[in-house]
Symmetry: C2
Subunit: 202 residues, 2 copies
Protein backbone atom coordinates (compact mmCIF):
# COMPACT_ATOMS: atom_id res chain seq x y z
CA UNK A 1 0.00 0.00 0.00
CA UNK A 2 1.36 3.38 -0.96
CA UNK A 3 -1.52 5.50 0.16
CA UNK A 4 -2.59 5.90 3.72
CA UNK A 5 -5.95 7.59 3.61
CA UNK A 6 -5.54 9.05 7.04
CA UNK A 7 -2.86 11.55 6.04
CA UNK A 8 -3.86 11.89 2.43
CA UNK A 9 -2.17 14.85 0.83
CA UNK A 10 -3.28 15.68 -2.71
CA UNK A 11 -0.17 14.03 -4.11
CA UNK A 12 -0.73 10.82 -2.15
CA UNK A 13 -4.34 10.70 -3.30
CA UNK A 14 -3.26 11.19 -6.91
CA UNK A 15 -0.65 8.43 -6.60
CA UNK A 16 -3.27 6.07 -5.22
CA UNK A 17 -5.75 6.95 -7.99
CA UNK A 18 -3.12 6.44 -10.71
CA UNK A 19 -2.07 3.17 -9.11
CA UNK A 20 -5.57 1.82 -9.77
CA UNK A 21 -5.03 2.04 -13.54
CA UNK A 22 -4.12 -1.23 -15.28
CA UNK A 23 -0.40 -1.76 -15.77
CA UNK A 24 0.49 1.20 -13.54
CA UNK A 25 2.48 -0.05 -10.55
CA UNK A 26 3.27 1.96 -7.42
CA UNK A 27 6.56 3.32 -8.82
CA UNK A 28 5.03 4.39 -12.14
CA UNK A 29 2.08 5.95 -10.31
CA UNK A 30 4.51 7.99 -8.22
CA UNK A 31 6.52 9.02 -11.26
CA UNK A 32 3.38 10.08 -13.14
CA UNK A 33 2.05 12.01 -10.15
CA UNK A 34 5.28 13.97 -9.78
CA UNK A 35 5.31 14.58 -13.51
CA UNK A 36 1.82 16.04 -13.25
CA UNK A 37 3.04 18.33 -10.46
CA UNK A 38 5.82 19.58 -12.71
CA UNK A 39 3.90 20.28 -15.92
CA UNK A 40 1.93 23.48 -16.52
CA UNK A 41 -1.45 23.81 -14.87
CA UNK A 42 -3.08 24.09 -18.31
CA UNK A 43 -1.74 20.74 -19.45
CA UNK A 44 -2.84 19.00 -16.27
CA UNK A 45 -6.32 20.51 -16.46
CA UNK A 46 -6.56 19.37 -20.09
CA UNK A 47 -5.93 15.79 -19.02
CA UNK A 48 -8.41 16.02 -16.14
CA UNK A 49 -11.06 17.53 -18.41
CA UNK A 50 -10.56 14.93 -21.12
CA UNK A 51 -11.12 12.16 -18.56
CA UNK A 52 -14.36 13.84 -17.51
CA UNK A 53 -15.44 14.44 -21.12
CA UNK A 54 -15.06 10.76 -21.89
CA UNK A 55 -17.34 9.81 -19.01
CA UNK A 56 -19.88 12.45 -19.88
CA UNK A 57 -20.03 12.01 -23.64
CA UNK A 58 -19.18 8.37 -24.31
CA UNK A 59 -21.81 5.64 -24.04
CA UNK A 60 -22.31 2.12 -25.34
CA UNK A 61 -24.11 1.49 -28.62
CA UNK A 62 -27.42 -0.23 -27.82
CA UNK A 63 -26.93 -2.60 -30.77
CA UNK A 64 -23.30 -3.67 -30.88
CA UNK A 65 -22.12 -2.35 -27.46
CA UNK A 66 -19.14 -0.62 -28.99
CA UNK A 67 -18.38 2.71 -27.32
CA UNK A 68 -19.91 5.65 -29.12
CA UNK A 69 -20.88 9.29 -28.85
CA UNK A 70 -24.17 8.79 -30.70
CA UNK A 71 -26.57 5.85 -30.34
CA UNK A 72 -26.65 3.69 -32.45
CA UNK A 73 -22.96 3.98 -33.26
CA UNK A 74 -21.48 5.13 -36.55
CA UNK A 75 -21.04 1.57 -37.80
CA UNK A 76 -24.50 0.30 -36.81
CA UNK A 77 -26.22 3.34 -38.34
CA UNK A 78 -24.21 3.14 -41.58
CA UNK A 79 -26.40 1.70 -44.34
CA UNK A 80 -23.31 0.87 -46.36
CA UNK A 81 -22.31 -1.81 -43.85
CA UNK A 82 -23.30 -5.41 -44.42
CA UNK A 83 -25.84 -6.15 -41.67
CA UNK A 84 -25.90 -9.87 -42.46
CA UNK A 85 -22.43 -10.28 -40.98
CA UNK A 86 -21.59 -9.82 -37.30
CA UNK A 87 -18.05 -10.00 -36.02
CA UNK A 88 -17.86 -10.83 -32.30
CA UNK A 89 -14.94 -9.23 -30.49
CA UNK A 90 -13.85 -8.95 -26.85
CA UNK A 91 -13.21 -5.22 -26.51
CA UNK A 92 -13.92 -1.89 -28.28
CA UNK A 93 -10.19 -1.73 -29.05
CA UNK A 94 -10.58 -4.84 -31.20
CA UNK A 95 -13.16 -3.00 -33.31
CA UNK A 96 -10.64 -0.17 -33.81
CA UNK A 97 -7.97 -2.68 -34.85
CA UNK A 98 -10.25 -4.41 -37.35
CA UNK A 99 -11.55 -1.11 -38.73
CA UNK A 100 -7.99 0.00 -39.42
CA UNK A 101 -7.52 -2.96 -41.78
CA UNK A 102 -10.44 -1.73 -43.96
CA UNK A 103 -10.98 -5.38 -44.91
CA UNK A 104 -14.31 -5.91 -43.13
CA UNK A 105 -17.57 -4.24 -44.09
CA UNK A 106 -19.98 -6.01 -41.73
CA UNK A 107 -21.05 -5.03 -38.22
CA UNK A 108 -19.63 -5.91 -34.81
CA UNK A 109 -20.72 -7.18 -31.44
CA UNK A 110 -18.57 -6.29 -28.45
CA UNK A 111 -18.68 -8.80 -25.59
CA UNK A 112 -16.80 -6.57 -23.13
CA UNK A 113 -14.67 -9.40 -21.82
CA UNK A 114 -14.21 -13.15 -22.04
CA UNK A 115 -15.40 -16.04 -19.95
CA UNK A 116 -12.80 -16.30 -17.21
CA UNK A 117 -13.65 -18.40 -14.15
CA UNK A 118 -10.37 -17.27 -12.53
CA UNK A 119 -11.61 -13.67 -12.56
CA UNK A 120 -15.18 -14.65 -11.74
CA UNK A 121 -16.46 -13.67 -15.19
CA UNK A 122 -19.14 -15.98 -16.53
CA UNK A 123 -21.28 -15.79 -19.70
CA UNK A 124 -23.84 -13.66 -17.84
CA UNK A 125 -21.27 -10.90 -17.39
CA UNK A 126 -20.80 -10.61 -21.15
CA UNK A 127 -23.11 -9.19 -23.82
CA UNK A 128 -24.01 -12.64 -25.15
CA UNK A 129 -27.76 -12.45 -24.53
CA UNK A 130 -27.91 -9.20 -26.45
CA UNK A 131 -26.27 -10.94 -29.40
CA UNK A 132 -29.08 -13.47 -29.57
CA UNK A 133 -31.66 -10.73 -29.29
CA UNK A 134 -30.01 -9.08 -32.29
CA UNK A 135 -29.94 -12.34 -34.22
CA UNK A 136 -33.67 -12.80 -33.77
CA UNK A 137 -34.34 -9.37 -35.27
CA UNK A 138 -31.82 -9.41 -38.11
CA UNK A 139 -31.27 -11.87 -40.92
CA UNK A 140 -27.74 -12.83 -40.06
CA UNK A 141 -25.83 -15.02 -42.50
CA UNK A 142 -22.40 -15.14 -40.95
CA UNK A 143 -21.00 -14.81 -37.46
CA UNK A 144 -17.25 -14.29 -37.25
CA UNK A 145 -15.99 -15.13 -33.76
CA UNK A 146 -12.89 -12.97 -33.42
CA UNK A 147 -12.07 -13.41 -29.74
CA UNK A 148 -8.36 -13.42 -28.90
CA UNK A 149 -6.43 -16.55 -29.89
CA UNK A 150 -5.61 -17.49 -26.28
CA UNK A 151 -7.10 -19.94 -23.77
CA UNK A 152 -9.88 -17.68 -22.52
CA UNK A 153 -10.69 -16.32 -25.96
CA UNK A 154 -10.89 -19.84 -27.41
CA UNK A 155 -13.09 -21.06 -24.56
CA UNK A 156 -15.44 -18.13 -25.06
CA UNK A 157 -15.51 -18.75 -28.82
CA UNK A 158 -16.38 -22.41 -28.24
CA UNK A 159 -19.15 -21.48 -25.79
CA UNK A 160 -20.70 -19.03 -28.26
CA UNK A 161 -20.30 -21.43 -31.17
CA UNK A 162 -22.31 -24.07 -29.32
CA UNK A 163 -25.07 -21.61 -28.48
CA UNK A 164 -25.18 -20.55 -32.15
CA UNK A 165 -25.65 -24.05 -33.54
CA UNK A 166 -29.50 -23.95 -33.53
CA UNK A 167 -29.43 -20.74 -35.59
CA UNK A 168 -28.24 -22.42 -38.80
CA UNK A 169 -25.84 -19.58 -39.44
CA UNK A 170 -22.36 -19.76 -40.94
CA UNK A 171 -19.81 -19.51 -38.12
CA UNK A 172 -16.24 -18.54 -38.97
CA UNK A 173 -13.16 -17.29 -37.20
CA UNK A 174 -10.06 -15.40 -38.41
CA UNK A 175 -7.34 -17.65 -39.86
CA UNK A 176 -4.59 -18.90 -37.57
CA UNK A 177 -1.12 -18.98 -39.08
CA UNK A 178 2.25 -17.35 -39.33
CA UNK A 179 2.24 -13.60 -38.63
CA UNK A 180 3.48 -11.58 -41.59
CA UNK A 181 7.03 -10.42 -41.01
CA UNK A 182 7.58 -13.24 -38.56
CA UNK A 183 10.18 -15.96 -38.73
CA UNK A 184 9.14 -19.55 -39.34
CA UNK A 185 12.04 -20.61 -37.14
CA UNK A 186 10.70 -18.67 -34.16
CA UNK A 187 7.01 -19.51 -34.55
CA UNK A 188 5.64 -21.60 -31.69
CA UNK A 189 4.60 -25.18 -32.41
CA UNK A 190 0.86 -24.61 -32.13
CA UNK A 191 0.91 -21.66 -34.55
CA UNK A 192 3.13 -23.54 -36.96
CA UNK A 193 0.98 -26.66 -36.95
CA UNK A 194 -2.13 -24.51 -37.45
CA UNK A 195 -0.40 -22.73 -40.33
CA UNK A 196 0.42 -26.09 -41.94
CA UNK A 197 -3.08 -27.48 -41.42
CA UNK A 198 -4.65 -24.35 -42.88
CA UNK A 199 -2.29 -24.16 -45.85
CA UNK A 200 -3.66 -22.51 -48.94
CA UNK A 201 -2.98 -22.82 -52.69
CA UNK A 202 -0.24 -20.45 -53.79
CA UNK B 1 0.62 10.52 -34.29
CA UNK B 2 -2.46 8.85 -32.91
CA UNK B 3 -4.63 11.89 -32.55
CA UNK B 4 -5.88 13.93 -35.43
CA UNK B 5 -7.26 17.08 -33.90
CA UNK B 6 -9.62 17.64 -36.78
CA UNK B 7 -11.94 14.77 -35.89
CA UNK B 8 -11.22 14.71 -32.20
CA UNK B 9 -13.75 12.62 -30.37
CA UNK B 10 -13.47 12.67 -26.55
CA UNK B 11 -11.77 9.30 -26.59
CA UNK B 12 -9.17 10.40 -29.16
CA UNK B 13 -8.45 13.53 -27.15
CA UNK B 14 -8.02 11.46 -23.98
CA UNK B 15 -5.68 9.06 -25.76
CA UNK B 16 -3.59 11.97 -27.00
CA UNK B 17 -3.48 13.56 -23.51
CA UNK B 18 -2.46 10.27 -21.87
CA UNK B 19 0.16 9.73 -24.56
CA UNK B 20 1.92 12.92 -23.38
CA UNK B 21 2.70 11.32 -20.01
CA UNK B 22 6.23 9.97 -19.58
CA UNK B 23 6.59 6.26 -20.31
CA UNK B 24 3.07 6.03 -21.78
CA UNK B 25 3.29 4.97 -25.41
CA UNK B 26 0.44 5.08 -27.93
CA UNK B 27 -0.73 1.54 -27.17
CA UNK B 28 -0.72 2.05 -23.39
CA UNK B 29 -2.49 5.39 -23.81
CA UNK B 30 -5.20 3.66 -25.81
CA UNK B 31 -5.51 0.85 -23.29
CA UNK B 32 -5.77 3.32 -20.39
CA UNK B 33 -8.34 5.44 -22.22
CA UNK B 34 -10.57 2.44 -22.88
CA UNK B 35 -10.14 1.36 -19.29
CA UNK B 36 -11.35 4.79 -18.16
CA UNK B 37 -14.40 4.40 -20.40
CA UNK B 38 -15.20 1.10 -18.73
CA UNK B 39 -14.87 2.03 -15.05
CA UNK B 40 -17.60 3.75 -13.08
CA UNK B 41 -18.10 7.45 -13.56
CA UNK B 42 -17.29 8.05 -9.88
CA UNK B 43 -13.89 6.43 -10.15
CA UNK B 44 -13.00 8.40 -13.28
CA UNK B 45 -14.13 11.68 -11.72
CA UNK B 46 -12.02 10.89 -8.64
CA UNK B 47 -8.93 10.59 -10.82
CA UNK B 48 -9.75 13.78 -12.72
CA UNK B 49 -10.35 15.67 -9.49
CA UNK B 50 -7.17 14.42 -7.87
CA UNK B 51 -5.16 15.70 -10.85
CA UNK B 52 -6.79 19.10 -10.48
CA UNK B 53 -6.32 19.11 -6.70
CA UNK B 54 -2.60 18.52 -7.12
CA UNK B 55 -2.28 21.53 -9.42
CA UNK B 56 -4.38 23.72 -7.17
CA UNK B 57 -2.94 22.81 -3.80
CA UNK B 58 0.67 21.78 -4.44
CA UNK B 59 3.42 24.39 -4.70
CA UNK B 60 7.20 24.50 -4.37
CA UNK B 61 8.83 25.26 -1.03
CA UNK B 62 10.54 28.66 -1.30
CA UNK B 63 13.56 27.32 0.59
CA UNK B 64 14.31 23.81 -0.64
CA UNK B 65 12.04 23.70 -3.73
CA UNK B 66 10.54 20.41 -2.68
CA UNK B 67 6.85 20.16 -3.49
CA UNK B 68 4.62 21.09 -0.58
CA UNK B 69 1.14 22.11 0.46
CA UNK B 70 2.41 24.70 2.97
CA UNK B 71 5.32 27.09 2.48
CA UNK B 72 7.96 26.56 3.83
CA UNK B 73 7.60 22.80 3.62
CA UNK B 74 7.27 20.40 6.54
CA UNK B 75 10.99 19.62 6.56
CA UNK B 76 12.21 23.23 6.26
CA UNK B 77 9.84 24.40 9.00
CA UNK B 78 10.76 21.54 11.36
CA UNK B 79 13.07 22.83 14.08
CA UNK B 80 14.17 19.29 14.84
CA UNK B 81 15.99 19.07 11.49
CA UNK B 82 19.66 19.87 11.28
CA UNK B 83 19.82 23.11 9.27
CA UNK B 84 23.61 22.94 8.96
CA UNK B 85 23.34 20.05 6.51
CA UNK B 86 21.83 20.32 3.02
CA UNK B 87 21.37 17.31 0.80
CA UNK B 88 21.15 18.23 -2.89
CA UNK B 89 18.87 15.97 -4.92
CA UNK B 90 17.53 16.01 -8.48
CA UNK B 91 13.81 15.47 -7.90
CA UNK B 92 11.15 15.62 -5.16
CA UNK B 93 10.90 11.82 -5.44
CA UNK B 94 14.52 11.59 -4.26
CA UNK B 95 13.51 13.43 -1.07
CA UNK B 96 10.74 10.87 -0.51
CA UNK B 97 13.21 8.01 -1.05
CA UNK B 98 15.73 9.45 1.42
CA UNK B 99 13.06 10.29 4.00
CA UNK B 100 11.90 6.67 3.95
CA UNK B 101 15.35 5.53 5.12
CA UNK B 102 15.00 7.69 8.29
CA UNK B 103 18.78 7.96 8.26
CA UNK B 104 19.08 11.65 7.43
CA UNK B 105 18.00 14.48 9.70
CA UNK B 106 19.24 17.47 7.71
CA UNK B 107 17.44 19.53 5.08
CA UNK B 108 17.24 19.17 1.31
CA UNK B 109 17.63 21.21 -1.83
CA UNK B 110 15.80 20.02 -4.92
CA UNK B 111 17.44 20.98 -8.23
CA UNK B 112 14.48 19.90 -10.38
CA UNK B 113 16.66 18.26 -12.99
CA UNK B 114 20.28 17.76 -13.97
CA UNK B 115 22.58 19.52 -16.38
CA UNK B 116 21.89 17.85 -19.70
CA UNK B 117 23.15 19.58 -22.85
CA UNK B 118 21.38 16.91 -24.93
CA UNK B 119 18.02 18.06 -23.54
CA UNK B 120 19.03 21.72 -23.57
CA UNK B 121 19.11 21.92 -19.77
CA UNK B 122 21.91 24.11 -18.43
CA UNK B 123 22.76 25.22 -14.88
CA UNK B 124 20.42 28.19 -15.26
CA UNK B 125 17.44 25.86 -15.62
CA UNK B 126 18.15 24.31 -12.21
CA UNK B 127 17.69 25.73 -8.72
CA UNK B 128 21.43 26.20 -8.23
CA UNK B 129 21.39 29.98 -7.68
CA UNK B 130 18.79 29.55 -4.98
CA UNK B 131 21.13 27.12 -3.22
CA UNK B 132 23.84 29.76 -2.99
CA UNK B 133 21.34 32.31 -1.74
CA UNK B 134 20.44 29.85 1.02
CA UNK B 135 24.10 29.22 1.85
CA UNK B 136 24.71 32.92 2.35
CA UNK B 137 21.90 33.10 4.89
CA UNK B 138 22.50 29.87 6.78
CA UNK B 139 25.57 28.52 8.48
CA UNK B 140 25.96 25.41 6.45
CA UNK B 141 28.56 22.87 7.53
CA UNK B 142 27.99 20.04 5.11
CA UNK B 143 26.61 19.73 1.60
CA UNK B 144 25.75 16.20 0.49
CA UNK B 145 25.52 16.02 -3.29
CA UNK B 146 23.09 13.15 -3.87
CA UNK B 147 22.46 13.45 -7.60
CA UNK B 148 21.93 10.15 -9.43
CA UNK B 149 25.05 8.02 -9.96
CA UNK B 150 24.90 8.30 -13.76
CA UNK B 151 26.69 10.47 -16.33
CA UNK B 152 24.42 13.50 -16.07
CA UNK B 153 24.12 13.26 -12.28
CA UNK B 154 27.89 13.02 -11.90
CA UNK B 155 28.48 15.98 -14.24
CA UNK B 156 25.98 18.07 -12.28
CA UNK B 157 27.61 17.02 -9.00
CA UNK B 158 31.02 18.03 -10.33
CA UNK B 159 29.69 21.38 -11.51
CA UNK B 160 28.14 22.15 -8.13
CA UNK B 161 31.20 20.91 -6.26
CA UNK B 162 33.38 23.39 -8.14
CA UNK B 163 31.04 26.28 -7.41
CA UNK B 164 31.02 25.30 -3.74
CA UNK B 165 34.80 25.34 -3.32
CA UNK B 166 35.00 29.03 -2.22
CA UNK B 167 32.48 28.35 0.59
CA UNK B 168 34.87 26.27 2.71
CA UNK B 169 32.14 23.78 3.42
CA UNK B 170 32.44 20.01 3.76
CA UNK B 171 31.21 18.40 0.53
CA UNK B 172 30.24 14.72 0.57
CA UNK B 173 28.30 12.32 -1.55
CA UNK B 174 26.56 8.99 -0.80
CA UNK B 175 28.89 5.97 -0.88
CA UNK B 176 29.22 4.02 -4.10
CA UNK B 177 29.43 0.27 -3.74
CA UNK B 178 27.64 -3.02 -3.99
CA UNK B 179 23.87 -2.82 -3.57
CA UNK B 180 22.63 -4.88 -0.61
CA UNK B 181 21.09 -8.13 -1.79
CA UNK B 182 23.03 -7.90 -5.04
CA UNK B 183 25.44 -10.44 -6.40
CA UNK B 184 29.15 -9.63 -6.59
CA UNK B 185 29.33 -11.74 -9.73
CA UNK B 186 26.74 -9.59 -11.51
CA UNK B 187 27.98 -6.17 -10.35
CA UNK B 188 29.29 -4.00 -13.19
CA UNK B 189 33.00 -3.23 -13.27
CA UNK B 190 32.72 0.43 -12.28
CA UNK B 191 30.55 -0.35 -9.25
CA UNK B 192 32.83 -3.18 -8.21
CA UNK B 193 35.99 -1.12 -8.51
CA UNK B 194 34.33 1.71 -6.54
CA UNK B 195 33.28 -0.79 -3.89
CA UNK B 196 36.87 -2.05 -3.62
CA UNK B 197 38.35 1.45 -3.50
CA UNK B 198 35.90 2.53 -0.82
CA UNK B 199 36.32 -0.62 1.27
CA UNK B 200 35.73 -0.23 4.95
CA UNK B 201 36.97 -1.99 8.12
CA UNK B 202 34.81 -4.96 9.02
Amino acid sequence: MISNHKNNSPIERLVSELHKLPGIGPKTAQRLAYYLVRISKDDAIKLAESIKAVKERIDFCSECFDITESNPCRICSDNGRDKTRICIVEEPLDVRALEKTRSYSGTYHVLHGVISPMNDIGPDNLRIDALFQRMKLLEVEEIIIATNPNVEGEATALYIQRLLEPFQVKITRPARGLPVGGDLEYADEVTLSMAMEGRQPF
